[in-house]
Amino acid sequence: MEAGKNLRKEISAKLKDETLRDALGRFSEAYPIARAKAYENAGDIEALRDALRQMKIDTVAQIEEVADRFEAEATKRGAKVFRAKTGDDLKEYLVDLCRKRDVKKIVKSKSMAAEEIHLNPYLEAAGITATETDLGEWIVALAGQRPSHMVMPAIHLSRFQIAEYFSKELKEEIPPDIAFMVQAARKELREKFLRADMGISGANFGIAENGAIGLVTNEGNARMVTTLPRIHVVIIGYEKLIPTIKDAATILKVLPRSATAQLMTSYMTMTSGPTPVMVKKNGKWAEEEKELHIILLDNGRLKAARDDKFKEVYQCVRCASCLNVCPVYTLIGGHVYGHIYAGGIGAILTAFLHGMGEFEKFHELCIGCRRCTTVCPGKIDIPGLIEELRIRNVKEKGLPFVIRQLFENVISNRKLFHSLLRFASVGQKPFQSGKLIRHLPLFLAGVAKDRSLPAIAAEPLRDRIGKITKKIDKPVRRVAFFSGCTIDFVFPETGESIFKVLQDLNMEVLFPEGQSCCGKPVIAMGDVETTKRIAIDNIKALEEMNPDVIIAACPTCTESLRHYAELLKEDPEWGPKAEATAKKVREFCSFVAEEYAKRGRLTKTAGGPKVTYHDSCHLKRVLGIDKEPRQLLEAAGCELVEMKDADKCCGMSGLFGVKYAELSMPILEQKINNIRDTGAEIAACACSGCMVQLQGGLDKQLPGVRMKHVADILAEQIKEK
């Protein structure tokens, strides 16, 4: 696909941009610490997030009424309210207004909505000069670029680059001294404020109760824009409306803290109705009432409000904290996302504002690590919404031919799929060294440059079951083990460890022969129908064993098996069965920790190796399991040393790690560095996807450290009876 190729080219260019990498790298380190500090005196942060979320949910449920009230109250106080269905409607209204009022010069404070509809070029074409007055916005405008971050538009530029743009614009040599440049901008823009015929501002919120709009800024430019010119135009999206004045407090408690780690911005301004303005007439200053226009922009927003899932985007207050913690955004910045809204939330907003065609290009840059969901003040399930959009996209357009063939004919056909994996174990031989593939031919070389790939095991787990199954007298439980493809075909030794640990707990362990891929790679691409077929096959295979418990040792498989209930809920035959199966599914670490605790074995012991533990994104943030693996490691005698950012993604994320290898590698490198810094001998984790990535990275970059599943470490402690 052409778009995919261009995207990869752009990613490659951004990864080579030292200024960008350095700035974003430092920022992503500093942000979480600064944010935590800003919330120190805010009380219960979860309660604040819940309050914002609930207020926004209640608002979007009655968005038309709220908009009507906002319009009525603003109108009553003397504002002119215009509802723009599209960007074009807005632009035409505005240019018409400028013509009628003889407006030639406009000063603008930040408006993402104006960026979204490309307002400035349209005004220029109509002979109207619009000057951005937010320093960052002004800089990117001078550079002829787009903002790369919602809150810090020019974060991708260095002082040296900015000095060049300033020198060109101001026609004098401007040194790359930040304080000096800020003063030069102040001087230049002050003139523009004083001479402007119109001020255009965005709005951080619009209050239905009294038709007020609220603005938070640090530079003071919004105060200038709303105070000095004789006409003030507000551009506000429907998602910014809130019912009452008090609701603004709910936003202000979190917005500055999340956006810039400030308790409050320098200026928080609320204005309702036209306010006085000073106008010079015949050489004399006189007070007049200014003209206030409020343009309420739809451009896809009302469609989102009526969508049962996507109304969630109304919970966004544009703080950009989701970008600040995103492992992908913090490597490549915002320009790659193609439109004004970057990151995961950007992909979703883009789908509504610019259409699915645009969404298709960028959604793969969300690796589903869910880190954003831990900081979003509106608690938006960004990765969940992206998955939903993928499903809708596939329903509408279908999958590319090759992938469809692969899913419909290969992955959903267990026998064929498994034969191919066995065949691969032979085909990979020329490249294999031990259990890893260290080199790949030509076009695949990038995939294995800083990471070895795991070799498909010569003997999969399913062929070893006879050897490893023990006869258990009076078993306490019947356990069916769902291995997933990776443990079955790549890490069968880990499968053996799991058998050993569970059998040691006096449980009968069964391996359902008919089990296949859990379906995650298929649903992740949005193919619901094929996933359903896979689900039914797996339910059959598992239930044949009549187990008490179903154990998976991979968080993604655990999630997928549980999700079968939702997936098949409309199916009268398989729906109830899927639900019964889902209820039996347990993740290995949490299950074993519980059993160890019952037997008094979950106590810290000493004498084992120094181990550091990597939290799998899905194990921690979807299943909520992070203490149990650590408790198990300590029970096994390990000396546990925490690495920095233990819960930050390793960069694998299913097929992402292979398709966007170039992007996956720097994420992995950070992880390997953090492991190195602990001085541990073993890096443990409890996710087979992470195992692939970590083992590959350690092999190439830190060969002294071994990677193990928690089950492997537990198994080593068990004495053969």
Binding site: N218, G220, L252
Partner: protein
């Protein structure tokens, strides 16, 4: 014009607010580069202001009166030191851009954030607060509310139309290399003179 200012006073929560919150307010305001001077009475308020004026060698001031300033005789004190003072909206509009200092009164402070709340409905107020490089405000030191929520309890009952807002330290930016730089479009210095004594003839 200041009918709104009367309205918010009626809703000021005397039970939960007060001078006991001042230390937290002061700490937060200073943390964002605000300058805070707490003084016992009008005479010291006047002296503090004069020190600020002398410090910057101010020649021209734009002033919007408030009860605390009137009690301290700020405008007269400035004039007697040779500072040209403008107090009328038309004069303020003509001179705010070139004035060395802007002076105004604020309604209350917020301990949680170190912000002050000001009713900027009058155009003159907004001009003196935003255009000169140094902005000095007068605040009754007992008028401190605990947090944003309490501030909005007052605002929601008193703000119907007009222009209100929080000011929290001087104008700032971090748009170039995330380096904090003070004084972009608004004032580069923001000073709060907080007065303990209530002016004669009523509440602050």
């Amino acid at each position: 014009m200041n009918t709104d200012a009367e309205v918010w006073k009626r809703h000021f929560p005397t039970a939960t607010s007060g001078a006991h919150l001042f230390p937290e307010f002061e700490m937060r305001a200073k943390a964002v580069s605000g300058e805070v001077f707490r003084v016992p009475d009008a005479a010291e308020a006047r002296e503090t202001l004069i020190r600020l004026v002398d410090g910057v060698g101010a020649k021209k001031a734009v002033v919007v009166e408030s009860p605390l300033q009137e009690a301290a005789g700020i405008t007269e004190a400035l004039r007697s030191r040779g500072v040209t003072v403008y107090t009328e909206p038309a004069d303020i509009a003509a001179h705010a851009e070139t004035a060395d200092i802007g002076i105004s009164g604020v309604e209350f402070g917020i301990a949680e954030t170190g912000s002050v709340f000001q009713d900027g409905g009058a155009i003159a107020t907004r001009l003196v607060t935003i255009l000169p490089p140094l902005h000095v405000v007068f605040l009754p030191s007992a008028n401190i509310v605990p947090g944003i929520t309490e501030a909005f309890d007052i605002i929601s009952q008193s703000f119907d139309r007009g222009y209100v807002g929080f000011i929290t330290g001087p104008s700032r930016t971090a748009d170039i290399e995330r380096v904090l730089t003070i004084g972009v479009h608004g004032p580069s210095r923001f000073a709060i003179i907080a007065v303990d004594e209530t002016p004669k003839g009523g509440e602050a």
